[in-house]
Symmetry: D2
Subunit: 333 residues, 4 copies
């Protein structure tokens, strides 16, 4: 960690600061320039409160040179983490296809979709039971009953399931869920993260719409620091000024997260783009970039012309995407 | 609500869509152009699922022409809402000064700060007991014990208190809190909002770092739709590409929110800028823009040169800010 | 185009507005709702000044339902445009590899790099002669002499060349340049665009760091409306809050631009990421997304350990990227 | 400047790097930690190419601790710069009211507006002759004829004039213009900046829509490094995700720029918000924040209900704004 001191800092102020830093078991190297003095802090700085340091009158700026996350950090865990979900593995060369409807709506619906996506090659079933919606007047999901239907679909097809939790108080309902999803809006719901850190269930942690990669990894650190190391990171689009797509899918996050962390990275092109016509090209792009899995929304409502989901593919379209993803995987391995 | 249909939509598809819309008690006006057909949906569109409509194959784009929020909407409640907190009023011409330390640290600290800010003119005491921190290794607040100390300071000074809730399960601890704050990271923690909507306590709802004003008002709507109409909106900076300030304080949000809604708007310049030297000019600017209150961090640690908070003012500096805010208030009224 | 009128608009105001719109040869359809009145404007609205319309007191909001660009619009030109550059074609299924150093530095350097990238499969040579730099104290390029060296490299290898123009007054120097590049910072230098529209040289138009796709297409329209239809669009990263990468490469722009326009789309992963280790995965991702070409920075300075460019690949690394891009191309075609 | 070296950098690599840095007359302080080695570069680092340094294989990151701008830097010029424009002064406690129509349209229009705004207290007349427009089909301004009309209005009222230049080749037309404006889209048109640096005319430099404050100051440095020290900075809104306002006015930029630089800072609330109803509160807020001037669009078209400009005030509204700005100025001085 580097601290730059303001011009005019007195020797006694600096001494006081250096003493305080040394009391935290840090070595302090001092470089005095003409206009600035720079302190290099050497040692375990992950517990130094950067905001506090920045706040000192004599400090002009502070910069971390080692990342503030430890358990999620590739530097300390060079090998890729492989997450086991039933027989499925994610990360370290194992690639997972995750698919299913936006919301669970009925037993027929979820089982039909599960069978269809399994036939195309999906290994994990997704489906929303608790739905975070911007408007209080919009459909909020089937909740507990939705999870029951997902479990029926799991039984019918053998596919492990992933579904989103919004609230610690419903954790009991997720006892048989294979992967618990933390949505983008809850990425910094720290109490929820800590509670999930006390389970052993794999967590699919979605990046917040305006969160940096470092913040995403700090949220993973919240889960891991409580004992649960089964974290899957998920890029699902960030908020920018562009309005043609719902969000801007940051595919470079795949490579960046792989550089910074040993955790697997899954990409969700459905929510990012909000347009079904863009799902396939973005799924192929993310695969080519080295993603460890792709999560896609698939619906089935052949009889209802009005009911296809915003960004969802039909089973037929999904089959085509799976076929092409496999070709890309062969090309890059 | 306006729906633009794609070229190539067949008459029978359009008929089916129009029938579906009419079944929701909407009138549908059809404008056919050379390249596009536009449907104007007339009636109560606040319950129409815009995402679903957008998702239909035949629909090119959808635009709301009336806002999706109702209870927070100035169109339906032209008069300013005035929130009563003890003897203090906020909104409708009443202006509130809120001040206190970032975190509650000890009984002496919080009472001393409370007395100091009261002497300068503050009417409400703020202080963090539950602290959302990006890092699991950073200080997370005194929690329940912090609320107890705030209540002691309230007793000692008569100032009503505002403090942040992070988790529904701690709601009982807030029984005697005068204003419950929802932090920026929880602005779309919808379960928390709904639960707070079932109380009668005034809620200080902070804008998320990357949330639009409409999303802020939809989150207010979550609280109001459950029965609690005592919502105070708070602008505290948004995330942009600029790195000199921690966030970019969007002072135009004050005017925009006043145009859109009848709810009072408070501004927090301390968190937005992250620099104590910028707190005063931004507090004055927000006051001049017509804010209904200003919330500022104030610390007192005369004996500890290292302990001043990042963006906090000293009591002496706060006194000067209060003096100048009063002069601005006189100038604009 | 849709115009939403404010509540309280009088019939005579509306009549005046409708008369004004009809005078522009537009049909006007009126939909009156309870809270709003909506005008649908039918006809050629590309010349209607949306800002002027929005500015009227009685108008609440205006929305285009047809795009404001015409010559760049796929709706009016369904077939992909294919740009011819010597024997090279770009677009409509033709894929172009563009490579070369950030800056032209010497005859030996540019010819060596040109030979190396040609051997790997590059079809077009890039190199900076005029360099836009944030700081006036940074190297600004070899200027005219740089173009002369590029032409020597063209002669030596047969590769057509692309290089950036910053200023109309230097246009004469570009007489033998095969593709003239407009940099991100000049994307809305409208006088430059118009002047280039009066040439017949293909233009590589880079997206501005904070420009929407529609603005990019409007800038293409500036060139095309003057008579030069040879425009190649280039995505090179946009400015977001993320700081790990220099910019955020918006790979979804490839698909979006293909939906909106018939013009070819090239991607530059070197400038977007600013990290050489991210160039290959982003090049593969952009190829998988359907880009019509990839532009990559390649340097050669085997003798100087300090001189490799920020985001540049070595010829050896570039050879590997070319090999993999070809495999991705085979997988998606 | 601080350079952090990657793990695994060999002593001989480091020696080579240090020798290279010392050859640039820099002192190098080395701090070796367990996981990183940090180099502190002491001396005049404003000419060190940060991108080049970052690009070295052995370098993990680079951070400037002193700003890269010198002539615009308050550290080297502690006193406020005061710009003289005729009898008007801007900066160092002198506050300037600038007003006029978006575009110059006719002699009557510009003279009438000039007389009206002068009567309200404006000291400088603004008016667009060359208009940068996103669409090639929109009105591009009266160009040279517009400048002639501005000069007539100057003669009629005595008000100095400010108008925008888009292109070096038109510089001769600006011989009698008192302040030349560089628009947001040209903030990094470096050739234009350098050319204007060779004049003595005051330059009003608008911040680009997605440019950082440091980039704005680097663009000021382009002008100043060529010899013209008469630069006025202008905040006019930045591009964010918010869509209610056209742009987000960054009022904190006023304070930030005053901290970083000695140059005066003017605020343009008209273009930032794009809504006439928001101009007054934002003008008052910017004044309260300490801006050195406010630039506002004012139109006069009493006879034409359809012709009021998007974000323009009437002379009557402008008079009220001036009155209130004076009250705010009295309150803060």
């Amino acid at each position: 960690m580097i601290a730059v001191l303001k011009q005019g800092t007195t020797p006694s102020q600096m001494e006081q600061l250096v003493a305080w830093l040394k009391a935290m078991n840090l070595d302090v190297h001092i470089s005095e320039g003409q206009h600035v003095t720079v302190l290099g802090l050497i040692g375990d700085t992950s517990r130094v409160d950067m905001d506090l340091l920045k706040s000192l009158d004599m400090v002009e700026s502070v910069k971390r040179v080692s990342e503030p996350f430890k358990q999620a950090n590739r530097k300390f865990h060079p090998n890729d983490t492989i997450i086991h979900v039933g027989d499925v593995r994610i990360g370290g060369g194992y690639f997972a296809m995750i698919a299913g409807p936006c919301s669970v709506e009925s037993e027929d619906q979820i089982i039909e979709v599960a069978q269809a996506v399994k036939a195309s090659g999906a290994q994990i079933l997704r489906g929303g039971a608790f739905k975070p919606r911007t408007s209080p007047y919009a459909f909020q999901g089937m909740k507990g009953a939705g999870i029951d239907l997902l479990l029926k679909a799991k039984k019918a097809t053998g596919l492990p399931i992933v579904t989103e939790i919004m609230n610690i108080s419903t954790l009991d309902l997720f006892a048989d869920v294979d992967i618990i999803q933390v949505g983008a809006r809850n990425m910094q719901n720290f109490d929820l993260l800590k509670e999930l850190g006390r389970t052993k269930t794999p967590i699919l942690l979605k990046r917040g719409l305006a969160n940096t990669l470092q913040e995403l990894l700090m949220s993973a650190e919240y889960i891991m620091s409580e004992g649960n190391e089964n974290v899957i990171l998920c890029e699902r689009g960030i908020r920018t000024f562009e309005t043609y797509t719902r969000n801007t899918l940051d595919i470079s996050a795949v490579t960046a997260l792989h550089n910074l962390s040993h955790l697997p990275v899954v990409v969700d092109p459905s929510h990012a783009t909000g347009k079904s016509s863009m799902v396939m090209p973005m799924a192929l792009a993310a695969t080519a970039a080295g993603a460890d899995g792709i999560m896609i929304e698939v619906h089935n409502n052949p009889s209802c012309a009005l009911c296809d989901g915003p960004q969802s593919l039909t089973p037929h379209q999904y089959d085509e995407v799976c076929h092409r993803i496999r070709k890309i995987r062969e090309a890059i391995v």
